[in-house]
């Protein structure tokens, strides 16, 4: 059992190198990757925008509730913006991305394997990792930071909507406090790095689970479940590690 796990881990590592090695075609033939950006990025737009907005609305409401007890409601902007750019944006967007795009990538590759499409490709002297896996991997890696940024931006707008438009916090104070409290390099850029790392992790898990799935209907459905569960755990664990590197209680 344990030996099996370690075996799989070793295979995953070798698989990762193969993906990187055969990535050339994904960039030389951009339409391949563009197509995957469409499937993982564009088709995730709606869920990211709507979720981001709602998370922002909730943050705005809860933040206001708490801050007004201390009479510092004008700090609402900085509260909403910091929670989103540092944590919620990258993490929640990555979780949504794993279940929306990651699972469908796993299903697609798993079904291609089950119906011998990958073997057929290999017989036609086209490497399945170069033609099928690598473009999906890079499509995910490119989409993820953009989706996370969009999520954070929508969240800030949601917080502004609740705080300023509905509750009546001062508009100027909301933005100026936010701007003086959120540092580009420290808060926003670290958030972008986080979402980039999550994008690599989720995309890799998704393509690997698909490629390594047992080629039956049941095997593919298990692989999809594993993609979502493993991605979620990996995102949260990585988030802890990255946070402890990036924000060591210096502010």
């Amino acid at each position: 059992m344990t030996v099996d796990r370690i075996w799989r881990l070793g295979f995953a590592a070798r698989f990762m190198f193969a993906v990187l090695r055969y990535s050339g075609a994904s960039f030389r033939r951009l339409p391949l990757t563009l197509r995957e950006i469409y499937f993982s990025g564009v088709l995730s737009l709606l869920i990211i925008i709507v979720s981001g907005l709602f998370v922002g609305l909730v943050l705005g409401l809860q933040g206001y509730e708490t801050l007004q007890r201390y009479g510092s409601t004008e700090a609402l902007g900085v509260l909403v913006a910091l929670s989103l750019t540092r944590e919620l944006g990258p993490v929640v967007a990555a979780l949504l991305f794993a279940s929306r795009a990651g699972s469908s990538v796993t299903a697609e590759i798993g079904l291609m394997k089950a119906t011998e499409q990958l073997k057929a490709m290999d017989m036609m002297a086209v490497h399945p990792i170069a033609r099928v896996v690598a473009p999906r991997f890079w499509g995910g890696v490119i989409s993820m930071p953009l989706l996370a940024a969009l999520f954070s931006a929508m969240g800030v707008l949601g917080g502004w909507l609740i705080g300023v438009v509905f509750i009546g916090v001062d508009d100027g104070a909301f933005w100026s406090q936010m701007q003086s409290g959120v540092d580009f390099r420290y808060d926003i850029w670290n958030g972008v790095i986080k979402s980039f790392v999550f994008g690599i992790a989720v995309s890799l898990i998704a393509v690997f689970e698909g490629y390594d799935s047992v080629p039956t209907a049941e095997g593919v459905s298990r692989a999809i479940t594993r993609t979502v569960v493993t991605s979620a755990l990996t995102i949260l664990a990585l988030d802890f590690v990255l946070t402890s590197f990036m924000f060591r209680g210096t502010s």
Binding site: I37, V42, A153, V156, M178, S180, V182
Partner: protein
Amino acid sequence: MNRTVLDLWVGIFVAIGIVALLFLALKVGNLSSAHLSETYVLQARFDNIGGLKVRGPVKSAGVVVGRIVDIKFDTATYEAVVTMDIDGRFRFPKDTFASIYTSGLLGEQFIGFDVGGDEKMLKAGDTVTKTQSAVVLEKLISQFLFNKAAEGQETK
């Protein structure tokens, strides 16, 4: 190669993503105000910096003029050495007074510059000599109580 509808959508997606990033950078973050001009480094020594943090603001007359970039402990003098990046547009006289203030009762701590009248200006790498340490709230309160107690004894 033909342009396709798919390309259009990917284009829209990337554009929206970049707009979101710019929004975060310029409207949410401080990229629009910070780092636009050159900065120069000043140092100041304090007996006690209280809760001062790296990246905290340096203000003069309430306007942010720089950021704290480093805080060190000098084992020779047992003082805290604070390094600040000051906006290159602003120059301060040699006899500027650097104090540590707290915004509000419980807010963040920052360094405030109270400007003197010297003709000579501080140059990059200079040390601000006149400093005032942080007000430690506990000390203030115990002092106040002690004074009260002393007063009480006098009136008896």
